[in-house]
């Protein structure tokens, strides 16, 4: 078995200042290269916080977060990250390719001495490949604001992919997409996960569009996390234990899962950015 890409040991996260609120604690997780893992849980259960902890933006005392064999935050160049967001301003005067390009060299300071233009050609080639990989070539040259939600999402995934990351973390990439687009984007992510041997963490609200593609799920609830195969984790007994109330999981004839009775965690939106 290969070395894990992400490993959390006894990790705990708190957010907010006075008073800090524990989001989850004692979390043990392992994600291996080439694995497609969904992060599930209700609002405020700490899904986005988990991604931020892996990026080293949230501390996790006393536990540790190991990413690609080092401490969290040390290998962020190897992580493609797509934060949760709500679409781009329709008047934003920038094209899809420009955004993808910024994913490649947006954190570089100053100007590169590039007299022969070799660096520029290589960058352009890499950007073109990433855009082709997500199937966005037809509209990558158009202003971002003119694109549909699904088209924007593909451009953003291309941005996250352009540095050939070893870990891909997508925060609710299926939000605001219609069902065919949800399926298309998920299939795309799975294909990248398999062909490039990338460890994928995908945060989602609903597990059902992901069911045919997933290797594992991480379920966050009640301040704890549960990891495993879908059929092992999303069961009435497991979720009841996690939430501490009676939960029922129904399986529809087409295989879709319906979770009944889960309480919504307290909302923390007001404090999240303080």
């Amino acid at each position: 078995m290969q070395a894990p890409a992400i490993e959390l040991r006894e990790a705990s996260a708190r957010i907010g200042a006075r008073p800090p609120r524990a989001v989850w604690s004692g979390v043990q997780l392992t994600v291996c290269p080439g694995e497609f893992v969904a992060v599930l849980g209700s609002n405020g259960s700490g899904k986005s916080t988990l991604l931020k902890a892996i990026l080293g933006l949230v501390q996790t005392p006393p536990g540790t977060v190991e990413v690609l064999g080092g401490p969290a935050g040390a290998a962020n160049r190897e992580i493609g990250y797509l934060p949760q967001r709500h679409g781009f301003d329709s008047t934003l005067p920038i094209r899809g390719v420009d955004l993808v390009r910024l994913g490649l060299d947006g954190s570089r300071w100053g100007v590169a001495l590039d007299i022969s233009g070799a660096v520029r050609r290589r960058s352009r080639e890499r950007v073109r490949e990433a855009i082709e990989l997500v199937g966005a070539s037809a509209y990558a040259e158009r202003p971002l604001g003119e694109l549909s939600g699904g088209e924007q999402q593909r451009i953003l995934i291309a941005q996250a992919l352009v540095r050939s990351p070893r870990i891909l973390m997508l925060d609710e990439p299926l939000d605001s997409l219609d069902l065919p687009n949800q399926a298309a984007v998920t299939a795309l992510v799975q294909r990248i996960c398999r062909t490039e041997n990338v460890a994928v963490l995908l945060v989602a609200h609903d597990v059902n569009p992901l069911l045919p593609y997933l290797d594992q799920v991480i379920y966050l609830a009640g301040g704890r996390a549960l990891q495993g195969a879908v059929e092992d984790v999303i069961t009435g007994s497991k979720l009841s234990e996690l939430y501490g109330v009676e939960i029922e999981v129904l399986r529809a004839r087409d295989g879709r899962l319906v979770v009944v009775g889960q309480p919504e965690a307290p909302h923390v939106h007001g404090h999240r950015h303080d």
């Binding site: 990026l55 933006l57 962020n76 160049r77 992580i79 990250y81 797509l82 934060p83 967001r85 934003l92 005067p93 920038i94 094209r95 390719v97 420009d98 955004l99 910024l102 994913g103 060299d105 947006g106 954190s107 570089r108 300071w109 100053g110 100007v111 352009r124 073109r128 855009i131 082709e132 070539s137 037809a138 509209y139 990558a140 040259e141 158009r142 202003p143 971002l144 003119e146 941005q159 950015h273």
Partner: protein, 306 residues
């Protein structure tokens, strides 16, 4: 000065423009200011910080009035208050959209206080009334060599700083969370950009006046961004339009009795309007084209031959 007359002979007109040292100074200062405003304004418009820019500009008014009252050179007052305004706005704001909306309330308060202070200083100074108009609406008369050199220095500082942070600043402006994850110091860049903006505004408003500096900072970049979604060409176009506006305004106001600020503003507005109309027409054409072939990939020059 003899009354300048405009003739149909353009060579003669330009010759007449350059006959006086004050006009040469004005043209040099105007050129420096236009290049700087074109670049800094481009980032400001992209970052949706026009309101912050406007407030910093308004703050140059109490700065200049206060400097006159204290008996120090006007430039000192400009740089001081614009810098303070930039710091105050930067302290209030945070990263991302939420930070920016909180910013806007703080900015409004700073702006009103600044205007009030300016008028107080001016009435305490009890100088000539004409100065008020100059402070608010600018003048191109009486720019001396030292001012031109100071402007040049400020412009070099501002432009070098922007070249160094240009790319991370662009990423942080468009996508603060990705920038943060990639180790870009987003908060420091927010602050740094406001300081750069403060410097540029202080320099520019000495020529265009406190109220109209905005025309040069906003109109050319907004027009450029409406005309093209490509960052590089858009930035260059922004500078070209700012230069065009500045030179034309200086030329016209030399031959006219009306203030420079009026022409800078009107020309800026004209450029912006034309660009918006062009942009709208193009967007409609694209939409109609997309409607016809359904799939919608009729970009003029696709990089990829898919």
């Amino acid at each position: 000065m003899a009354n300048p007359t405009l003739s149909w002979n353009l060579v003669h007109d330009v010759h007449e423009l350059l006959a006086y040292q004050f006009m040469v100074n004005a043209l040099q200062a105007g050129t420096i200011v236009a290049v700087m405003a074109g670049v800094v304004g481009w980032y400001m418009v992209l970052r949706r910080q026009s309101f912050a820019g406007h407030t910093i500009a308004v703050m140059s008014f109490p700065g200049a009035a206060g400097a006159a009252l204290a008996g120090v050179p006007g430039a000192v007052g400009y740089y001081l208050t614009c810098g303070i305004a930039a710091l105050a706005i930067g302290r209030e704001g945070g990263a991302g959209r939420r930070g920016r909306s909180r910013e806007s309330a703080a900015i409004g308060v700073v702006q009103v206080a600044g205007l009030a202070l300016g008028f107080l200083f001016l009435s305490l100074y009890s100088g000539v009334l004409e100065q008020l108009e100059t402070l608010l609406f600018g003048t191109f008369l009486g720019i001396d060599r030292n001012q031109v050199l100071t402007l040049l220095l400020v412009a070099i500082v501002v432009l070098v700083a922007l070249v160094l942070v240009g790319r991370p600043l662009l990423l942080a402006s468009l996508d603060p969370e990705v920038a943060l994850a990639r180790g870009v110091p987003v908060r420091a860049l927010d602050f740094g950009f406001l300081l750069i903006l403060g410097l540029a505004v202080a320099a520019t408003s000495q020529i265009t006046g406190a109220l109209l500096v905005f025309a040069l900072l906003v109109a050319p970049p907004a027009a450029a961004q409406a005309l093209t979604p490509r960052p590089g060409p858009s930035l260059v176009l922004s500078v070209v339009l700012a230069l065009l506006v500045m030179w034309l305004a200086l030329g016209i106001s030399y031959f006219s009795i009306y203030p420079l600020g009026f022409f800078v503003t009107s020309l800026g507005f004209g450029v912006f309007l034309l660009a918006k109309l062009t942009g709208l027409a193009r967007a409609r054409r694209v939409r109609r084209g997309r409607g016809q072939d359904g799939a919608g990939s009729q970009e003029p020059q696709p990089v990829v031959a898919a």
